[in-house]
């Protein structure tokens, strides 16, 4: 399986390349990609340097242009696609049918990968994107169980890439509008969920309140570690009971599933986290490279090492990890 790693900056890209990524995915400095955060991502010049650095070491660069343009911004998305083609990127990762059609019609020598934001979870949908747009690969949303992934891989008309590690989005990506419900901005429109500019940390003697556009998301006792108010990971009251009604603050970690994913014919595993530091990218890439190599050297004797697990847990939200939807009981 190919190891596909995130880079939100040139140092992160170098960290990914140097630590064994097969491919690195990046985005440009605007709302054309789903990690549109201040200070993150690549302008023309940095993107060229990134391409040079990666291709010198035989590593592919994939460009995410995976948000949904509205008519007023359409030219930004086409410029982004033009730039990706001009840079000689290996693939464009897109979700919007308009953008997919634009890249198809350019007849350029660039692959199309279907972004997770397109929320393609079944053979009918995958076939549509292949037949209509010539998509070569699809990134599956984090909503399928392992047996569903295996079943899909058996007959998939396109290569499949799955999420391996990182922040856990529990909704079908591209089909969650909770962020814009609270803040007006969503991953689809502006490329951010629970955007930082709406976040407020309120500290008092008895508690730390975290808010999103004024709405209380969670309240932490002084001895608790207060997490970022991602709206689906707050504690809410349901039937009179206070709980993580949607999900706990936790990260996805599928290192234990490497044999099953490999045997199912999954072509690539993706690390989440373009918004994270170069140190994060370096560590996660290093651990996953080692794990994939270990599996390759001895497929039958593969077992995740404690050192990998503890390193990954240390880089995770709330310092805990889960198999997420891959594990049926999670659902």
């Amino acid at each position: 399986m190919e190891l596909v790693c995130p880079a939100g900056s040139l140092p992160a890209l170098k960290a990914a390349v140097d630590n064994g990524a097969d491919a690195v995915y990046i985005g440009f400095r605007d709302d054309t990609n789903a990690r549109h955060f201040a200070g993150l991502n690549f302008n023309d010049n940095k993107a060229r340097k990134a391409l040079d650095y990666a291709s010198n070491k035989g590593v592919k660069v994939l460009v995410a242009i995976n948000t949904y343009p509205r008519p007023g911004g359409w030219s930004r998305w086409t410029s982004a696609a033009d730039l990706a083609i001009d840079l000689g990127a290996h693939a464009v990762i897109a979700a919007d049918p308009g953008v997919l059609g634009y890249v198809r019609d350019k007849h350029a020598d660039i692959r199309l990968h279907l972004s997770v934001q397109a929320s393609s979870t079944n053979l009918g949908s995958l076939s549509f994107y292949k037949e209509r747009f010539g998509v070569s690969r699809a990134v599956l949303p984090r909503v399928l169980s392992l047996s569903q992934v295996q079943a899909l891989a058996k007959n998939s008309p396109v290569e499949l890439e799955v999420f391996a590690f990182g922040s856990l989005c529990i909704m079908a990506e591209g089909r969650c509008w909770l962020s814009s419900y609270l803040t007006s901005e969503s991953p689809n429109t502006v490329g951010a969920c629970s955007p930082a500019k709406y976040v407020r940390w309120e500290e008092s003697e008895s508690s730390m309140n975290t808010r999103l556009n004024g709405v209380l998301i969670d309240r932490f006792a002084p001895d608790e570690r207060a997490g970022y108010p991602t709206l689906c990971k707050g504690r809410y009251e349901v039937n009179g009971k206070l709980q993580h009604a949607l999900e706990e603050p936790t990260s996805l970690n599928t290192i234990a599933l490497i044999p099953q994913l490999e045997q199912a014919g999954i072509r690539a595993v993706k690390i989440e986290g373009r918004q994270r530091s170069p140190a994060y990218t370096a560590e996660v890439t290093r651990v996953w490279r080692e794990a994939l190599n270990t599996y390759k050297a001895n497929p039958n004797g593969f077992a995740p090492r404690d050192e990998w697990q503890s390193t990954l847990a240390g880089l995770s939200e709330g310092c805990q990890t889960t198999l997420g939807a891959y594990h049926r009981a999670w659902q």
């Binding site: 979700a95 997919l100 634009y102 009918g124 079908a172 419900y181 809410y236 009604a245 949607l246």
Partner: protein, 298 residues
């Protein structure tokens, strides 16, 4: 302006569903969407039951559209989708590309629902080429966005080739997941959910720690905490070029809202469902979806 009744999002008792649609036969709606769109485990009404309801509604003069699941995960989900698409009598609402794939193979025209991501007219064009004849504006888009998309559609020569519908009333479906949140609230795994969602005919309320209603749980779907109410914006919606407004069935208030939309004063306009406490209008007016009209500066 055509009034449509969206698919029932909740899991009601079978008798309640049958009684509801029997009433709908008498309501002033032109078009009714039928079928399960949320959870493939909700099977107490079989396809034949839905088709039976469809025939009754058709006999009452309604246009009937069969709606489909938004999240298809298994071969059996796809097989059911195929049966619906292949029904041969009623048109279909696609809520996933799998439905578009099948319907375009069959050469059958289709509608897209509010969960279908159409953010620009280039996307509309791709789908019109596949057979789209009607679309529903995605919930998070505004009146200005609608105008921009229709303007761009005009530039692409698409005007007259499709109908535009806007979701105007009901709890907004805002996310789908593999996880069943209603079962989770009851500490049950999805595979042994005991259909607890049946106990919540208008969904299960989620409040934050300050008592503010933030979301509503409906199985694997997460809905808005406030009810969308664009009844005061219908003329604006029409002016911007939409031809139909969609009301989404709730356990209470749906009939009153439809009467109010139809402009029958006294019958519905005064009800609390129409005036509505705890409603919101933000998305249409270009701000956060939860924001009520009172807090929107013109």
């Amino acid at each position: 302006m055509e009034i449509t009744l969206g698919p029932l999002q909740y899991f009601w008792e079978k008798e309640q569903v049958l009684a509801f649609y029997k009433d709908v036969c008498e309501w002033p709606v032109g078009r009714v969407y039928l079928g399960e769109t949320v959870c493939s485990k909700r099977r107490q009404l079989k396809l034949d039951d839905w088709l039976g309801i469809a025939e009754q509604l058709q006999a009452a003069g309604k246009t009937v559209v069969l709606s489909t699941l938004a999240l298809l995960e298994s071969a059996s989900d796809l097989a059911m989708l195929r049966r619906i698409c292949d029904n041969g009598r009623f048109t279909v609402e696609a809520n996933d590309m799998a439905a578009v794939h099948r319907l375009s193979e069959l050469g059958r025209p289709f509608t897209t629902g509010p969960l279908f991501n159409i953010y620009n007219a280039l996307t509309l064009k791709e789908l019109i080429d596949c057979g789209l004849e009607r679309w529903t504006l995605p919930l998070e888009l505004s009146g200005n966005d609608l105008s921009a998309i229709l303007g761009q559609a005009d530039e692409l020569g698409l005007t007259g080739r499709f109908t535009t519908e806007v979701f105007v009333w009901g709890m907004m479906p805002l996310a789908v997941s593999a996880r069943c949140f209603t079962a989770r609230a009851h500490n049950l795994p999805k595979d042994q959910c005991q259909f607890v969602c049946k106990d919540y005919p208008d969904g299960l309320a989620v409040h934050n720690q300050e008592g503010e209603r933030v979301f509503t749980l409906n199985g694997i779907q997460t809905q808005s905490g406030r009810c969308l109410n664009l009844l005061g914006d219908v003329s604006g919606i029409q002016k911007r070029g939409a031809q139909a407004v969609r009301v989404s069935p709730q356990a209470e208030g749906t009939h009153e809202v439809i009467l109010a939309l139809k402009g029958k004063p006294g019958e519905g306009t005064d009800s609390e469902w129409v005036r509505g406490n705890n409603t919101c209008q933000g998305y249409w007016h270009g701000t956060a979806g939860m924001v009520p009209m009172a807090d929107i500066t013109p």
